[in-house]
């Protein structure tokens, strides 16, 4: 609880509109995060608190840095040589940019679903079993079978693929591939799930399934979802953060952001005046 108090003062220190602070324990805390791609300043002085077991939506016009910040949370930006991150990001009060931290271990606890489905060119089964196998989460074949089945069920794909688990994951349709990637991400039971526009390639039915899944997952996981669909943000998230040109303009409870935004840019964006 003392931590929350500290958070509130820090947030207030930034000159952005103040909304009610998140309820419950904070899972991810970012302070003065800056990201540079070479000389390009892609994220500027970003502060945010992301509460545990809830869904947070990142919205904003294209190129404003949503994906960039998302990739900071599991340090995927490490794979981009020109990318430089400063500031502090803590998960469970542990600095994830601490040099002594094991990145591989960190990523094992953070699932990620990419904007474009990227199933491995392996069988459907092997795609889902990939994480459990490399992290030794299951000892026997039947344990892995069970994980594969439950993950595919959660992702709403089981009924469609249960008879063709040995077929290649790349042979599925785009929407099925995306749900396969979701199943792959949740197979290792991560604490945090990062989703970068997971529904941009999906039809309305598949989208509904994914949203349903997000709703179910949020009781056990902390979920961050980037989306271009205002309706989707309103439907699935508890809190929403609006990004614009690399700054986090406004962040607060989703219903408040969508009904009574305090910043003009947020208002313009959600009423469709730009972006």
């Amino acid at each position: 609880m003392t931590m929350e108090a500290a958070t509130a003062t820090l947030t207030a220190g930034n000159d952005r509109p103040v909304h009610s602070a998140p309820q419950g324990p904070i899972k991810i805390q970012a302070r003065d995060v800056n990201v540079y791609y070479g000389d390009k300043h892609a994220i500027k002085h970003l502060d945010v608190d992301i509460p545990q077991h809830s869904v947070m939506a990142f919205i904003g016009p294209s190129g404003c840095g949503k994906s960039t910040f998302l990739r900071c949370i599991n340090r995927m930006n490490d794979t981009i040589p020109i990318c430089r991150v400063t500031g502090k990001i803590e998960i469970d009060r542990r600095d994830i940019y601490d040099p002594s931290l094991d990145v591989v271990q960190l990523r094992a606890h953070i699932g990620m679903v990419f904007q474009k489905p990227n199933p491995f060119p392996k069988s459907i089964y092997d795609n889902v079993a990939y994480g459990p196998k490399i992290h030794g989460l299951a000892r026997t074949k039947s344990e892995i079978d069970a994980i594969v089945e439950s993950s595919l069920r959660k992702a709403g794909l089981w009924e469609e693929v249960k008879d063709r688990l040995a077929e290649s994951g790349t042979g599925l349709s785009g929407g099925q591939q995306q749900r396969l990637c979701i199943a792959r991400a949740i197979a290792v039971s991560p604490d945090v799930i990062l989703m970068d526009e997971p529904c941009s390639a999906l039809d309305p039915i598949a989208t509904a399934k994914v949203e349903e899944l997000i709703d179910e997952l949020k009781s056990n996981y902390t979920i961050i979802i980037v989306t271009h669909s205002m309706q989707q943000a309103a439907r699935v998230s508890q809190r929403t953060a609006f990004f614009h040109l690399g700054t986090l303009v406004e962040e607060g409870p989703t219903d408040v952001i969508f009904s009574t935004p305090k910043d003009k840019r947020t208002n313009d964006y959600i009423t469709g005046r730009f972006g």
Binding site: V104, Q105, R107, K116, F120, P121, I134, H135, T170, A185
Partner: protein, 463 residues
């Protein structure tokens, strides 16, 4: 003559282009937007119409004239000379020499008349060909410019010409392949079945015989040395050396490709990649004497120091150096295919908490496997076909052995040995080279086919 023709050809082609271009602008009254195609396309179309008939006249006309001239010249000689291929060819040479103004020792009246008629026919014929070409070219210009109108689809017609050129080029490549294969097959057939060839082996003797000694025929008067065309020692020698080479090159090449593509920083890469490619550029002769003068003696010295008997030319020396030769093939091609694996697959794996080597082993290599296998096949074919290194480092002795420390020989080395120097093309010994070539070709074909099937079966497709 051909020079004159080519000059006319070039002039007419250029004229055609400008004529078409001008004509199109004239037809449009200066307003080129009114044309279906740009004036340049009308020019190119006219040029194409000139090139095709003139090329045909060139390629058919001159050889035809040559043939006719030869025929008219040889008809001055008696029929029995004309029937004998050898004498006929010798006489033809004399005629051509005489007609070309080269002085000769003894010139008969017959020969003189033949030479005169030869130059006569040649001269008239060539001028006719030039005339025909000129006619065809000019005619084509008029025909093409006549067709140009506002709606004429010069662009689409030129496209057809481009297509024809592309097809012609691939046809050349394919026909060459067919021609080579056909000639090898034909000579191989003669080697086994032509009754005029003496001292040839039966098919099973060739395929399963354990002795290879084609030279013995020349030393027949020396007595007891038997000619033998047993293919097995050569096959074993080839496979032995190739396998040693692959055992060196595949792991080193593949691992260095992995290092270069996934682990090395840009600076190391900028230096290491060209360095590897320089290795690919070293002529095999140089590698060969490196093998013979450096590697083979060191192997011999080392082997003898631990009590092994090592031949001064050994399969091991040749195989090691051949392996070095093909490392760049494998590493460079594998590096390319590994780089072609989409970054999104790597991201997916890293985001699952996989390490670099797990990602490499479980995602990237399987995805790159088809490319890597074809790199290995390519390297294998290079190794099987390599001659120079083996000649210099492994020797000529056709020993049937699996011992890498003994001297062996390979199929290609024997082909080279048989065909070096003057040869008549209807002795069993010479034809044996074709039979070897055929078997070599057949073996690589089967290997390629098997590898292709393996790749199809196990490929993990990404898109």
């Amino acid at each position: 003559m051909v020079t004159i023709y080519l000059t006319v050809f070039a002039i007419l082609a250029l004229t055609g282009f400008f004529a078409g271009h001008r004509r199109a602008i004239a037809v449009a009254g200066g307003n080129t937007r009114a044309l279906h195609s740009l004036p340049t396309y009308h020019g190119m179309y006219t040029l194409a119409t000139v090139v095709i008939p003139m090329l045909i006249v060139l390629l058919v006309g001159f050889p035809l004239v040559n043939m006719l001239a030869g025929q008219s010249a040889i008809s001055h000689f008696p029929a029995d000379l004309q029937a004998d291929a050898l004498k006929r060819a010798a006489t033809m040479r004399d005629i051509v020499n005489l007609a070309g103004g080269r002085s000769m020792a003894s010139v008969t009246g017959e020969l003189q008349r033949a030479a005169a008629s030869y130059s006569n026919v040649l001269n008239i014929g060539n001028w006719i060909v030039v005339g025909l070409g000129l006619l065809a070219g000019v005619g084509a210009i008029f025909l093409a410019t006549g067709r140009i109108s506002l709606t004429f689809r010069a662009r689409n017609n030129f496209e057809k010409f481009v297509l024809a050129v592309l097809i012609a080029c691939s046809a050349v490549a394919i026909l060459t392949t067919i021609g080579i294969v056909a000639s090898v097959v034909l000579e191989t057939y003669r080697f086994f079945f032509d009754p005029a060839i003496k001292g040839k082996p039966g098919i099973s003797e060739f395929l399963f015989g354990l002795d290879w000694n084609p030279q013995a025929a020349m030393r027949a008067e020396q007595g007891n040395i038997q000619t033998a065309y047993g293919f097995v020692p050569l096959l074993v020698g080839t496979l032995l050396i190739t396998l040693i080479a692959m055992a060196v090159a595949v792991p080193i090449g593949l691992l260095s490709a992995i290092y270069l593509s996934e682990y090395a920083g840009p600076r190391v890469r900028a230096f290491a990649k060209p360095a590897l490619e320089i290795l690919a550029g070293i002529p095999t002769v140089v590698l060969g004497f490196f093998a013979a003068l450096v590697i083979a003696p060191s192997i011999k010295g080392f082997g003898e120091s631990i009590g092994l008997s090592v031949a001064s030319e050994s399969a091991l020396a040749a195989g090691l150096v051949m392996g070095m030769m093909i490392i760049p093939f494998i590493s460079s091609l594998s590096d390319d295919v590994i780089n072609a694996v989409p970054q999104s697959l790597r991201d997916g794996s890293y985001a699952m908490g996989a390490t670099k080597s797990e990602t490499m082993k479980l995602v990237i290599l399987p995805a790159a496997l088809p490319g890597i296998v074809s790199a290995v096949i390519l390297a294998f074919s290079r190794a099987v076909g390599e001659t120079m290194i083996v000649v210099m480092a492994a020797g000529l002795a056709a020993n049937l052995t699996f011992n890498p420390l003994a001297a062996v020989t390979t199929i290609t080395v024997q082909i080279k040995t048989i065909l070096v120097g003057d040869q008549e093309f209807d002795s069993a010994k010479t034809l044996a080279a074709f039979a070897l070539g055929f078997v070599l070709f057949f073996v690589t074909l089967i290997l390629n086919y098997i590898a292709l099937r393996v790749v199809q079966k196990y490929r993990e497709q990404y898109d």
